[in-house]
């Protein structure tokens, strides 16, 4: 983006050995736990979400082990129900939602707009602490008996009949939600007020647009979730008569309130991931994103439309057929801005200078998996078909394709892309590529059979199932082993690099545009020696490479 740093009067370049970075200026644990540096907070989030992903992954493996055979023989029914509930809740609230904003957003968002930090650094740290408190509560719930309502907490099972730790879990979700709200607020204000001189709205990298749209949803939708789970906890403890018909409540009301948040929440998960993909496509094809403004505004369109489609989770709940019509038509329409993004990314590759580096392999994997996830969403949006599909394994496959195939793949792509900037080390490229490939293959092995077994008639959340579903379930469980191996390999490669990886000191190892690549690697505590001044659009690759030979920089 070639911000021209205003020549600093006493710009001395310190010798590399003595370079101060945000990582090495202070090693004490206090300097980490009380840091207000967005970069360090990003790393704290990285450690936390990694911990929860490991737990969620362990639960997933237990589910797949149980489903190897039709009989419920590995776990008790009740245990199985607790395991899938905690798998879903942990993955959604402690990884899918905070993953990209908490880790990548925190680290790169201020760098990308040329700011020294986010607008409210202390609030940012508070977000992480709230997140940790929520996490500790989850561990408490898991250690003291667990919860078995499914991550959807449908009443009146949750409000009255379940005798597991529902109220505690509701409070956990309530608390964790505030972490999202505060991060959202912080990002909104940061983008509005902290942009470097010259960084106009239409010079913003698309990751910023996506993060901005996400922050909007977070701030507007998460309070509804907070209210919902709070009412649920009150209903459970005091039987106030909101959701349980036995005391005058309405269970359908719970579904409406839950999905009013939880549908927008799926965009909280995927929009930042789409932002990451925009960055990666531009960087690895060395081209301006085709139709920049369409990609930017499609994020906002998705954010707005996403608030109006929640009823597509309720086509067979007894909701009015005419309400269903409205929800169905709005749902199919939301596929349009999504398709626009995919077409623009694809078109960006045209006449590009495409490098098949590890992050780009994740981009390709994202394309394949997210496309499948998106088109199968249309199956579910078609009301007549959803009568059969609802709550069967087809739905499970759909949302794993979009959330894991989409969000997690993009997260790994982004992590591999910004890793050298974050830690000043490069992972092993070959291992990185191999892991991406294994993940892609393993993912399809795990989840593709679930589309078929769903249509064949296997309901979700079943501890035991009819024998004709076994072949596909065995395939799925085998795939889960391959997929798990892929993720582990990627993680080991990254961790290995911290000690043994090639040291990176160049500012811009990928030859990419973006202010984050114009500061030291790893960045100094306050990001920039001097406030950068932006004079160009976000993806000025042509200016960067025309006339020169395009050469591999790293």
């Amino acid at each position: 983006m070639s911000a021209q740093a205003v020549a600093a009067p006493h710009a001395k370049i310190a010798a590399p050995e003595h370079r101060e970075t945000y990582l090495n200026y202070d090693y004490s644990w206090k300097s980490w736990l009380f840091t207000v540096d967005h970069k360090r907070i990003g790393i704290l989030y990285l450690l936390t979400v990694a911990f929860f992903v490991a737990i969620g992954g362990l639960f997933a493996m237990m589910i797949r082990a149980e489903l190897l055979t039709p009989q419920g023989d590995v776990l008790e029914s009740e245990t199985y129900n607790k395991i899938f509930t905690m798998h879903g809740a942990v993955m959604i609230f402690f990884f899918l939602i905070p993953g990209v904003p908490g880790v990548l957003g925190n680290f790169v968002l201020p760098l990308m707009i040329g700011a020294r930090d986010v607008a409210f650094p202390k609030l940012n740290l508070l977000s992480w602490y709230i997140f940790v408190v929520g996490g500790l509560l989850t561990l408490f719930v898991a250690a003291t008996g667990g919860v078995d309502t499914g991550w959807t907490f449908y009443a009146p099972y949750s409000s009255t009949y379940s005798n597991t730790r529902v109220a505690e879990t509701a409070i956990m979700v309530f608390i964790t939600g505030f972490s999202s709200i505060l991060t959202g607020l912080n990002f909104l204000v940061t983008v509005h007020t902290m942009r470097a001189p010259g960084m106009t709205w239409f010079r913003l990298p698309l990751f910023i647009w996506a993060s901005y749209a996400t922050a909007l949803i977070n701030v507007l939708a998460t309070p509804v979730l907070a209210i919902t789970v709070l009412l649920l906890a009150l209903e459970r403890i005091f039987h106030i008569g909101i959701f349980d018909p036995k005391v005058g409540g309405d269970p359908i009301l719970f579904e409406h309130m839950f999905w009013f948040y939880s549908h927008p929440a799926v965009y909280i998960m995927i929009l930042p991931a789409m932002g990451v993909i925009s960055e990666l496509v531009a960087a690895f094809s060395r081209k301006r994103i085709f139709g920049y403004s369409f990609v930017a505004f499609s994020s906002l369109a998705i954010a707005v439309l996403g608030f109006l489609v929640w009823g597509h989770h309720m086509f067979v709940s007894g909701q009015s057929a005419y309400a269903g019509l409205v929800f169905s038509v709005l749902t199919v329409l939301i596929a349009v801005p999504t398709a626009v993004k995919i077409f623009n990314w694809t078109a960006t590759l045209y006449q590009g200078s495409v490098e098949f580096a590890t992050p780009f392999l994740y981009v390709l994997a994202f394309f394949g998996l997210f496309l499948i996830g998106g088109v199968t969403g249309l199956f579910l949006a078609a009301m007549g078909l959803d009568i059969h599909m609802h709550d069967n394994y087809f739905v499970v496959a759909h949302f794993h394709y979009v959330m894991v195939g989409g969000m997690v793949t993009a997260f790994f792509g982004g992590l591999h892309y910004w890793w050298p900037k974050m830690f000043g080390r490069m992972y092993n490229e070959l291992t990185g590529k191999l892991a991406a490939l294994i993940i892609f293959v393993g993912f399809n092995m795990t989840f593709f059979p679930q589309f078929i077994v769903g249509y064949m008639g296997m309901p979700r959340r079943y501890h035991a199932y009819a024998p004709e579903f076994q072949v596909l379930n065995v395939l799925s469980s085998a795939g889960a082993v391959v997929l798990g191996t892929g993720y582990l390999l990627a993680a080991v490669n990254l961790i290995w690099s911290l000690k043994f990886g090639k040291v990176v000191t160049e500012k811009n190892p990928w030859g990419a545009t973006g202010l984050e690549w114009e500061t030291q690697t790893p960045p100094i505590p306050h990001n920039f020696e001097v406030t950068p001044r932006v004079t160009q659009e976000a993806y000025a690759y042509h200016e960067m490479y025309s006339g020169k030979e395009a050469h591999g920089v790293h």
Partner: protein, 313 residues
Amino acid sequence: MLQELPLTPPSASTFAPQVDALYWFLVILSTVVTVGIFAAALFLSIRYRRRPGVAPGNIEGSLRLELLWSFIPGVLAIGIFAWGAKVYFYAAKPPPDVMDFYVSGKQWMWKVQHPTGQKEINDLHIPVGRAIRLTMTSEDVLHSYWIPAFRLKKDTVPGRYTEMWFQATKPGKYHIQCAEYCGTKHSGMIGECYVLEPEEYQRWLSGNTGEAPEVAGQKLFENLRCVTCHMAGAGQRGPELAGVYGTKVALEGGGEAVVNDEYIRESILKPLAKVVKGFQPVMNTYEGQVGEEEIMQLVAYIKSLKAQGGGKQ
């Protein structure tokens, strides 16, 4: 191999082929779209892979392309919506001549009452070729009644009635599964739907005697002393119920209500929620005295009173 791994459940209702048609259409469409876009991305990435001495192009975008690739998916999306809605409304509107079955979900079993009074648990025996309507509720939590071979499901909701109708086309035995998570033995809340030839169904019925719901309902109506207030005569304090089903009644405090299953259920459990115009709110609640099955029998009885008054509803 395909024999062992069918891609769809058996197709055994008039509804199933409609769902399958839409499904296979979408499978083909989405395969074309997915493979097409993915192949294009792969092709472009390889075709324009990084080569020394070749600089990337400089392209802004194209309004025409943007409009084109918004418009085409938009049209396809609306088409999918319209087709899906058409199929959905077929399932939403039962034909006039249906057999009424009553289903009540309960952790973790299905209780079914036949129009002729037979009861069964978990399984469902029905005649082939007849339109059948299930009026359903739940005694505790949400459940969902799903017969994959019919491609139909509907949630059963405590405190409400939901409906689902189908016409089986092929005799056989098909799974019934609870699709809405309902607690510990959710995956055990299953049964079989036996679709029988009409004679066989008659034979099954005669082997399982029972009281028709409206007959049972009539007895309840007497035993619970509903008669004292609802029978023409000296003690009458409540409205006449014969012929009231399906009509609209005016309410105290304005407004009106359609007398349907839901309304009758509410009148029994929460009589004060809607008070009929011109009457005192003296009817007391039967909450706790009657179960869902009994309420369904009372509803069937009040419905049948209409049948006597004039024509089948």
